[in-house]
């Protein structure tokens, strides 16, 4: 055994060696602070550069059509010019397609994700809950092109098509379900989007529900609540802001999803109220036409990009306002 190891200084005067100004703390913390602050700023700079660059590239289109003319115009005719804007560019059909498919997706996925999350946290036998949760989270990692392929080649013809035919037969008189049923269209795109965003939303809602304090639930049980009452009156209200966060994340993904929508929405430039109709979303239209676009059209696609950014932002702000307003009336501290 090495016994010659230098002994720690023992004498009091030894312990007073050095000056108080030479410690590591004077440098280490400021350096760490600047690194972290730098990373934070970098994100903002990238975002600003992106917004400025796309907006300035898209500017000629906005200049010709007018800002609202571009957003609300529903005619899209590409021109072939290299230097000026000769076509007509109205992005409304794509904005509409984006909003409709995302709305369908969220309307289906939100209640489903809450129910699955409640099942996983409160109902499933413990032996099943863990593997099921992992599976759900795994699903969130499946690339969207796979959802698109599966949706188009199996789910659409085997499940959705028969369902749509039936739906059209029963509710065809209602403008949302007016025929003809073409197969691809807003509804199948929205449904596949719902399946796509379900895992990530479920994972978040499950997480939020799982961390709800058990003692509050016990208090509710001790007052004679049924499990249903504990979940709907105690657990879910307390999880409200988390559920909205999950919905916002799902909505963000649904709004921006490109490839699966491209494969299922039909790719037309039309728009109409019927959910069986075909159309395009903003992202799918960009992806579908960017390759062969003339310089002029490319500018117009850039403008769609700007519009998509705006729409996503507005939807997010709206959601936040809703949470904030509801939180105010409920006296919810957790917003």
């Amino acid at each position: 055994m090495p016994t010659e190891a230098p002994e720690a200084p023992q004498a009091p005067e030894e312990r007073r060696r050095g000056t108080l100004t030479s410690g590591r703390g004077r440098l280490a913390d400021p350096i760490f602070k600047w690194i972290v602050a730098g990373c934070g700023t970098l994100v903002l700079i990238i975002l600003a550069l992106m917004v400025i660059r796309t907006t300035s590239e898209a500017w000629p289109v906005f200049a010709k059509e007018g800002f609202f003319g571009f957003l609300l115009g529903d005619e899209w005719t590409s021109g072939g010019s290299r230097t000026e804007i000769t076509g007509t560019y109205g992005a409304w059909p794509f904005i509409y397609g984006t909003l409709v498919t995302a709305a369908i997706a969220i309307v289906i996925a939100l209640p489903l994700s809450i129910m699955v999350a409640v099942y996983l946290t409160h109902m499933a036998p413990p032996r099943l809950a863990k593997p099921l949760s992992y599976t759900v989270e795994l699903l969130a990692a499946v690339p969207s092109v796979i959802f698109g392929l599966w949706g188009l080649h199996w789910f659409l013809p085997n499940v959705m098509r028969p369902f749509f035919d039936w739906l059209e037969g029963v509710l065809g008189w209602f403008f949302l379900f007016e025929g003809p049923v073409l197969g691809v269209g807003y509804l199948p795109a929205g449904i596949v989007l719902a399946i796509m965003i379900l895992p990530i939303m479920t994972a978040i809602v499950r997480e939020v529900i799982a961390v709800q304090p058990l003692d509050q639930q016990m208090a509710a049980y001790a007052m004679g609540s049924t499990r249903w009452e504990v979940i709907t009156k105690v657990v879910l209200p307390a999880s409200f802001s988390g559920i909205v966060a999950a919905a916002m994340l799902g909505l963000g993904r649904a709004l921006g999803e490109t490839i699966a929508v491209l494969m299922l929405i039909g790719g037309s430039q039309a728009w109409g109220a019927s959910l069986f109709g075909t159309g395009s979303s903003m992202a799918s239209h960009i992806a579908a036409t960017f390759g062969e676009a003339t310089p002029e059209t490319r500018t117009a696609l850039m403008a769609i990009g700007v519009a998509l950014f705006l729409v996503t932002m507005i939807v997010n702000i709206l959601a936040r306002v809703i949470v904030w307003r509801l939180g105010q009336t409920k006296g919810d501290a957790a917003v």
Binding site: P213, D215, M218, Y221, M223, G224, K330, G331
Partner: protein
């Protein structure tokens, strides 16, 4: 406020009855009476572990029964068998018999929801809902579909819990804004609001400061004229101060080396604290262990 007790109730301050011979606030211990709970041969099994064994206990009406003992002696577990809260713990099983007014609490046709409506519970840590003070109290009456003026129910419950004067001007405020002691009294008000017969208290003061503890103890004393109260406490002085009867539990080890909780002695509080019949009780009371 309808008080069901008679003038002879020693707790009624107007009755003028004082009995200086007991430790508990100078009142005489009432007769046990027709028992509310009759626990016999009770064991609680978690999985394969018989955590609590062979408990026999009778709880009298409109009295305060205290369960004391060191950690791990099973007193909270026994408390939770009285309103079937143990049902919520996966793998927990109850053996033996627990009757409530002669009715088997664990009979297959008994609805645990109704059991818990009648036998309320207050927990160790104050656990109000993240809602307004009003909504906290109104929760129970609402889910139980109680008829009547909700404002009145809320006011009555808060008054009984000695909290009304402190919160009457801020009923819409979030319950989390209250102090710990106030939150615990809110939880008591919330329990009272569903009109239970029994209130179980699981170490209700262990998270509170001495002043707040004293307020809760005074409150228990008040409530005992109307409700049957069973309290689990770590605090021997608390049991001595408030309870009529005390059950002393301890943790033992069997031949196989497994720890389990069991009831050592159950008697009037004054007896337990002055002349206990079991050496282990005496050691615990004297502070020699636990």
């Amino acid at each position: 406020m309808s008080v069901s007790n008679t003038a002879a109730n020693p707790r009624d301050p107007e009755s003028g009855v004082t009995a200086p011979d007991t430790a508990a606030k100078g009142r005489s211990t009432p007769e046990l009476g027709e028992p509310v709970f009759d626990v016999s041969g009770l064991s609680v099994v978690y999985g394969t572990n018989r955590a609590v064994r062979d408990v026999d206990l009778k709880v009298g009406p409109q009295q305060i029964t205290a369960m004391i003992g060191p950690s791990g002696c099973g007193k909270s577990t026994v408390l939770r068998t009285l309103n079937r809260m143990n049902d919520l713990i996966p793998g927990a099983r109850v053996e033996g018999k627990v009757t409530y007014h002669g009715e088997d609490l664990y009979a297959p046709e008994v609805d645990p929801i109704e059991v818990r409506r009648r036998i309320g519970m207050v927990f160790q840590k104050p656990n109000p809902f993240p809602k307004s003070i009003y909504d906290n109290v109104a929760y129970g009456p609402r889910i139980n579909g109680m008829r009547g003026n909700m404002d009145e129910i809320v006011e009555q419950s808060l008054t009984k819990a000695a909290l009304w004067d402190e919160v009457k001007d801020k009923l819409k405020d979030n319950a989390f804004a209250l102090s710990g002691g106030q939150q615990q009294r809110l939880c008591i008000a919330r329990t009272i609001a569903v009109n239970p017969e029994v209130i179980l208290m699981d170490e209700p003061c262990s998270a509170l400061d001495p002043i707040a503890t004293l307020k809760i103890e005074d409150l228990m004393y008040e409530l005992a004229s109307e409700y049957t109260i069973v309290i689990v406490t770590h605090n021997m002085q608390q049991a001595a101060r408030v309870s009529d009867r005390t059950a002393f539990f301890t943790a033992s080890v069997d031949e196989a080396g497994d720890r389990f909780g069991n009831l050592v002695e159950y008697d009037e509080t004054s007896t337990i604290f002055s002349k206990p019949s079991d050496q282990r009780t005496e050691d615990y009371i004297a502070g020699r262990f636990g």
